[in-house]
Amino acid sequence: MNELLPRQAKVLKVEEQTPIEKLIQLDVFLNHKPGQFVEVSVAGVGEAPISICSSPTRKPTEVCVRKVGRVTAALHRLSPGDRVGVRGPYGNGFPMERMKGHDLILVSGGLGMAPLRGVLQYALDHRREYRELLLLYGIRDYSLMLFKDEVMKLMDSKDCRVYLSYEKEDEVCKNLKKKCPERVCEGVVTKLFGMVDLNPDGYVVVCGPPVMYRFVFKELMDRNFPPERVYMTMERRMKCGIGKCRHCVVGAGTSMRYVCKDGPVFTGVDALQIKGLIG
């Protein structure tokens, strides 16, 4: 089988999440793990790696795309009924099995919420198999929050404790802070660590913009959180998604890894060993 040949997937629904992000539902069965990604093709424009943002326990398959360049702009033009090419799923994904029986602390910034939503949905669908479920979510302002309905619903639910930080205050954020000042604050996402108790027996799962990792990881290390219990998912330039084109390679000297096939999920130990992994 030619792994580079995309399959066709029909677009079922396109939903605007924020002015720059759209949720796209695809009619495709992937049998993926949360944290894995697909290579999405728009013929004539190109291919881009995109995380699957839905859990395998739910249908249909969803991706959340931020418009930043050529392929992503083309994806934003799609409407229901259109077709795209899909390859994958690729990458290692998060070890959902291994994390069972432990606390799960999800730390996300901005678009990082996309891959973590799959983890969150999975854990919610297997709620009893995990212990505490925490979501630390940093946003710029409410208008840029992804999955608003879902997050707001969770804010009021007992299944998951949601902590929210925002950088620019607006009405919604102000009200949320008033409502639950112990879980909502102004600032960057690392500020939220001051509000939670980290159980060193738990697992921390991180996804956010490249600059975020260094700060989150430092915060965790400062708290003596075991690095092998931190999972971070990385972004790098990618063309093949299967460890051939070598654009996504990280590290230097003795340790080099492919983000596409050795990752995109790496542990804190990797972060300590692989030069430049988290900057």
Partner: protein
């Protein structure tokens, strides 16, 4: 391994048999430069040569190739099933194939590379090293596998090592003679003599760590002349990087997807949307390149191409010696 003997006078016969298998590509000299090119006659072939400009990997992973076409959103693959022969490949380049095999044949395998590799007979030949070769330092001066036939020049005849079923079938033809201990011993002696001529040495002990810890200033000095032109990657037999573009036609619904060799010394290699570049300067790119070649594992096969063809005259071995702290 199976061994056979081939009189040099019978080489044209072998060449004819190979032509019967498929198109033959062999080293050819034009205007003082060497290329692997399609040949019709053994006379066109340069049997004793140093190195070709592009490595013979170009037959398996083509410099620029259309991998599929599309119409609307439906893609059609463009696989190539042609049979071919690579005749006159040196040990370093064959070892280069083995390194690439691990990338492109490991699951999920790359169909384009895999089919061509499977459909191509590789016939190795004794090389003529020059002052830029250092294969012996990187363990690729001898090919233990990765070929169908390997011709060791013994003077009047060749010792033929047979490396595959197809090679076996070829070696069963009547112009091949039996060979054994004596020829193998002679070949080993000659190979050793040839290897002994290689003056260039590189010490790779702990090189990965040295590369990782070399300071920015050191790198800046070492790369001061680097033009970031990509040549070192593009001529390397073990570089695997490629880029992919969709080419649209005026018809808009139709077009092709092509892939092209890429170089990690170029801007776009680690650039992501929004302008963030994970390897923004020549220093990071050089560290990455060297790490890839000799840091984590030894992928360099010592062919010397990146040094010989660098427009800026940057020397791979000298650069690494400098990283070790040895005087140039």
């Amino acid at each position: 391994m199976r061994y056979a003997k081939l009189a040099k006078a019978d080489l044209p016969k072998l060449f004819q048999s190979l032509k019967g298998y498929g198109e033959v590509f062999a080293p050819v000299e034009e205007r003082g430069k060497l290329f692997f090119k399609k040949v019709e006659d053994l006379k066109e072939v340069k049997l004793a040569y140093t190195r070709t400009l592009l490595p013979p990997k170009k037959l398996f992973l083509q410099p620029e190739e259309e991998i599929m076409s599309y119409e609307g959103e439906s893609y059609t693959e463009k696989l190539d099933g042609r049979k071919a022969v690579l005749f006159g490949v040196h040990a370093c380049d064959i070892n280069g194939f083995l390194k690439l095999d691990r990338v492109f044949l490991d699951a999920p395998r790359d169909e384009y590379y895999a089919r061509r590799r499977e459909n191509t007979l590789v016939v190795g030949i004794t090389c003529v090293p020059d002052k830029y070769c250092f294969c012996t330092s990187v363990g690729s001066g001898y090919a233990s596998g990765g070929f169908d036939l390997f011709l060791h020049d013994l003077g009047k005849e060749y010792l033929v090592r047979v490396g595959s079923g197809e090679g076996y079938r070829l070696s069963k033809q009547d112009y091949f003679k039996e060979a054994g201990e004596a020829e193998v011993k002679l070949a080993a002696k000659l190979e050793e003599k040839r290897a002994g001529k290689l003056r260039r040495k590189i010490n790779l002990m702990g090189m990965g760590d040295l590369i990782e810890t070399e300071g920015k200033e050191g790198w800046e000095e070492l790369t001061a002349k680097c033009l970031a032109c990509g040549t070192c990657n593009l001529v390397c037999p073990t570089c695997q990087c490629y880029d992919v573009s969709d080419l649209l036609t005026l018809e808009v619904r139709k077009g092709t997807r092509v892939r092209r060799w890429d170089s990690c010394m170029l801007k776009r290699h680690a650039l992501v949307a929004g302008g963030l570049n994970f390897r923004p300067t020549v220093v990071e790119r050089t560290v990455n390149r060297l790490s890839c070649k000799v840091g984590e594992e030894v992928r360099c096969v010592g062919c010397g191409r990146c040094t010989v063809y660098c427009p800026a005259g940057i020397d791979f071995v000298e650069m690494l010696s400098a990283v070790r702290g040895e005087a140039r």
